[in-house]
Amino acid sequence: MNESGGVLRVRGLCKEHGEGQGLVRAVDEVDLDVPAAQTLAVMGPSGCGKSTLLHLMGGLERPTRGEVRLDGRRIDTLSERALARLRRRSVGFVFQAFHLVEELSAAENVELPALLAGCSPRAARRRAAALLERFGLADRARHLPWQLSGGQRQRVAIARAIANEPLVLLADEPTGNLGTGATLDVLRLFSELRAAGQTLVIVTHDERVASTADRLISMRDGTFVDDTRLAGSNTGRLGGMIGLGD
């Protein structure tokens, strides 16, 4: 751990698109610290900059101004090569549209990050098998993505994202394409990852996903308008919510 105590540390972050009259600040002077093992949800209307923020934090895009530190190390100034390596090893991404390699089986998709990080094929295979087993997908290991349901595909994508034990898992609308049942499966997985100490940032417009996070940030027009702690707040009023008691 580094002296700042945060896995992710963002200062004065700006991302501008266009210029002159058409200048848009997608992310506008944002500061953020995400401590280790925190599950942070970011909500906001489409176009508020939440996905851009996620891309900036994972090194998929470069900021116009400001800095991003991952485990104390500044990543916005890295070379393209160093950034690519960082994305392979230290950051896990999960997307709404899964982004699995369609020609590869579930197991091969999960093996990929380990292979790219220089693992031996045997070690990669072992790791993928263990992850699929843990995610309840052992019997789907040899299936191609199109043979899997949406929920199964997203679970494979999450297995792939954490295959290299990233410092942070960044998820962009991970349940956006899923129905209720599959959403619950993904939430179960996230809560398991959180229990295992995984740092997690989830961009979502699904209140049910956001409500299970430790902390919720609301974004509007590129800035944070609310930062709420949600964790462990059992009100003991479940009965009241269904009209029993009170």
């Binding site: 619950l184 609310d226 709420t228 949600l230 009100t235 919510m241 009170d246």
Partner: protein, 175 residues
């Protein structure tokens, strides 16, 4: 209804008819079914409880029922308590809606902040329900009920989002 009327009086003293008109405006077609006498009955109750005082207005000698009502200090306290309350026992949309309208009209509180406080409370509850849902085995009957509670909270949260959009646009000039 009692709380909503008290909060409306926080802007300025008013007679029953004026309050009825403001209620009608805030509620739109939903207020059409409101019984005309309801406002007067409620005002009489509030007066008895010492939360408002009614004084005969000058200039209406022919209308002895035209009393102008004003908040007492106890009434003001009750309004403040109502605004700060974030309970949502049975979602009473009209009550919350009127709370926002009254808060904006009397500049008692920023409606957007009231919405935010409510939203945080509902999100905490949704999180609690959601964790309970996740802990239920597949096909559990209790899970079905929890699912219903979660869906309702979700709908409420979406409505609060719409409230926030409107009230952050109109600022304090609404209602």
């Amino acid at each position: 209804m009692q709380d909503a009327l008290l909060a409306m009086l926080a802007k300025e003293p008013s007679h029953g008819y004026g309050l009825r008109m403001r209620l009608r405006r805030a509620l739109g077609p939903l207020g059409e079914s409101m019984n005309a006498g309801q406002v007067y009955v409620t005002l009489a109750r509030l007066e008895k409880a010492g939360l408002v005082v009614g004084e005969r207005a000058d200039g209406f000698p022919d209308r002895p029922d035209r009393k102008v009502y004003a908040l007492t200090p106890a009434g003001q306290q009750r309004v403040a308590a109502w605004l700060a309350e974030v309970n949502w026992p049975k979602p009473n949309l009209a009550e919350f809606h009127l709370k926002l309208a009254a808060a904006a009209a009397a500049r008692l509180a920023d409606p957007v902040e009231l919405v935010d406080a409510q939203r945080r409370e509902l999100l905490r509850r949704l999180g609690e329900v959601q964790r309970a849902v996740l802990a239920e085995p597949d096909g559990s009957t209790a899970g079905l009920l929890l699912e219903g509670v979660a869906l309702r909270l979700q709908a409420d949260l979406r409505w609060l989002e719409a409230c926030e959009r409107l009230w952050s646009r109109t600022g304090n000039e609404g209602a």
